[in-house]
């Protein structure tokens, strides 16, 4: 189980309506992608940070750590904007620094929006939400089972890795490659075997190959929270539009 799964299942917003959380998270993501990075991306990042840490109760240290995880990819991408190939060979791009900073800000804000949703909503709730959005039941059920099996396969792989390590299976790169190959090769038959046993368990409870229907808990939308989310997104959008219209030229150090 990953830290994101654990937080998603235990945070204070766990039982809030998925509609509210999806609107906020995807709204922030959309704004980060479509509005100028300064100052909107910074505002998006601030809103996401407040929502996740003050709202959902995720410790700031954990939030920063998770947010920083994709930063390596973002910085690698941004670094390519710093240089350019000119008539005299490779050199620093004239507007490279502001463009790289803008990209970094925009990407980080976008990730923070997405994380606002994924850190407050278990993956299974997200998939179950698809049911309400009229995605075919077969696809939703396969996605649910896939998620369940990923967690079980992850646990199995972790236990196998521990057992291999205890028997010196990972002491050098040669043995590490061999052990990892053996682990991967053994994981598939074990997972298939587990799938067969799960089928037995389901059949014992009356499943005959049709729908895997369960009673999903109802989490009604809170009008008060919904209004707050819409107001926040509207304010951020207004900020972005104001900047796009050149109403904040004094902050235009970092162009869009």
């Amino acid at each position: 189980m990953t830290p994101i799964d654990r937080i998603a299942a235990t945070n204070r917003w766990r039982d809030h309506s998925i509609t509210e959380k999806a609107l906020l998270g995807l709204g922030l993501l959309g704004l980060a992608l479509t509005t100028p990075p300064w100052p909107t991306a910074v505002a998006v990042l601030a809103v996401a940070t407040l929502a996740v840490t003050r709202g959902a109760g995720v410790p700031v240290r954990v939030w920063v750590k998770i947010l920083a995880a994709p930063l390596g990819f973002v910085l690698t991408g941004a670094a390519t904007l710093l240089i350019e190939l000119g008539p005299h060979g490779i050199g620093f791009a004239a507007d490279g620094l502001p463009r790289a900073a803008g990209l970094t800000l925009r990407a980080t804000a976008a990730v923070s929006g997405l994380l606002t949703l994924t850190l407050t909503t278990p993956a299974t709730d997200l998939v179950a939400g698809l049911r309400r959005w009229k995605v075919p039941a077969e696809i939703v059920e396969i996605a649910l089972l896939t998620h369940r099996f990923l967690l079980l396969a992850g646990d199995t792989a972790s236990a196998m890795h521990t057992a291999q390590t205890a028997r010196l299976g990972h002491v050098d790169w040669r043995r590490r490659i061999r052990s990892t190959g053996l682990l991967a090769a053994n994981l598939l038959p074990r997972t298939l075997d587990r799938a067969r046993r799960l089928e037995t368990g389901l059949a014992a409870r009356g499943w005959n190959g049709a729908s895997l229907a369960v009673l999903t808990p109802k989490r009604p939308v809170s009008p008060r929270r919904l209004a707050a989310i819409v107001a926040t997104l509207a304010a951020l959008a207004a900020l972005g539009l104001a900047d796009a219209d050149g109403l904040l030229p004094m902050l235009g150090m970092l162009p869009a």
């Binding site: 299942a9 649910l144 089972l145 005959n208 895997l212 009673l215 999903t216």
Partner: protein
């Protein structure tokens, strides 16, 4: 008349591995039956036959004297009456939360949402895990998973509950709590059949016992007498309970 019975039940796994050899067994209503034997003796294979998961190579299963029907509708009717709890709860739990998972069986019975919800709440309360209803199934402890899996079976209110190693892996206190819960279920009319390696527990808890070895029943009788008989127990490769 026995509630559930096996007659000359023989099963050979694909590939020719024999698992059960001419098993005759009768399960009486209200009598707790323990199935004991060493690893690979055929205990789990027997349970899988008693709820129609496996189909015998030869022999038959009788439910209240009538041979069971292997059609889809027949299997469905059979499994309404005979519940099964697997040894590894992870083989049974598939839904995101405990509440959702336990609701799976009642919905398969064709119950409406309100009735299914009432069944789930009743089963969770009976197992003492009502507070875990909203908990993600992959975040439960081993003992909690066992209880959730049993709740999933009893929410269907089966007449017979087959349990494969119900106390395996549980600490002593958790095992005692689970057995007390099973006793309460029995008081409400569920007949219990369970496999176990724990001879002392079977001696305390079961009314009757059958001893398995190499796919055959080597002895049967009241648990209080059978499980203290060193000679008989030795035939099944088990140690008798100290008298």
């Amino acid at each position: 008349m026995s509630l559930l019975a096996a007659e000359a039940l023989t099963y050979v796994y694909p590939g020719g591995v024999p698992a059960l050899d001419a098993i005759d067994l009768e399960i009486a209503r209200g009598r707790r039956l323990a199935v004991l034997g060493p690893n690979g003796a055929g205990k789990t294979t027997l349970l899988l036959h008693l709820n129609g998961t496996l189909r015998p190579t030869t022999g038959r299963i009788l439910l209240e004297g009538a041979a069971v029907d292997w059609s889809r509708a027949g299997l469905s009717a059979w499994r309404r009456r005979v519940g099964l709890v697997l040894q590894d709860a992870d083989d049974q739990l598939f839904a995101p939360t405990v509440f959702e998972d336990v609701s799976f069986g009642p919905l398969n019975l064709g119950l409406g949402e309100a009735e299914a919800k009432a069944r789930v709440e009743e089963a969770l309360t009976a197992l003492g895990i009502a507070d875990l209803a909203g908990r993600a199934t992959h975040m439960l402890s081993f003992g909690q998973k066992k209880r959730a899996a049993i709740a999933g079976a009893i929410a269907m209110r089966p007449e017979i509950l087959l349990l494969d190693e119900p106390t395996a892996g549980l600490d002593a206190r958790s095992a005692r709590r689970l057995l007390a819960t099973l006793e309460e279920l029995e008081a409400r009319g569920t007949t219990l059949v369970f496999t176990t390696h724990d001879v002392a527990m079977a001696h305390r808890f079961a009314h009757d016992a059958v001893l398995f070895a190499d796919g055959r029943i080597v002895a049967r009788g009241p648990a209080s007498e059978l499980l203290v008989d060193a000679e008989v127990m030795d035939r099944a490769g088990l140690d008798a309970v100290e008298g």
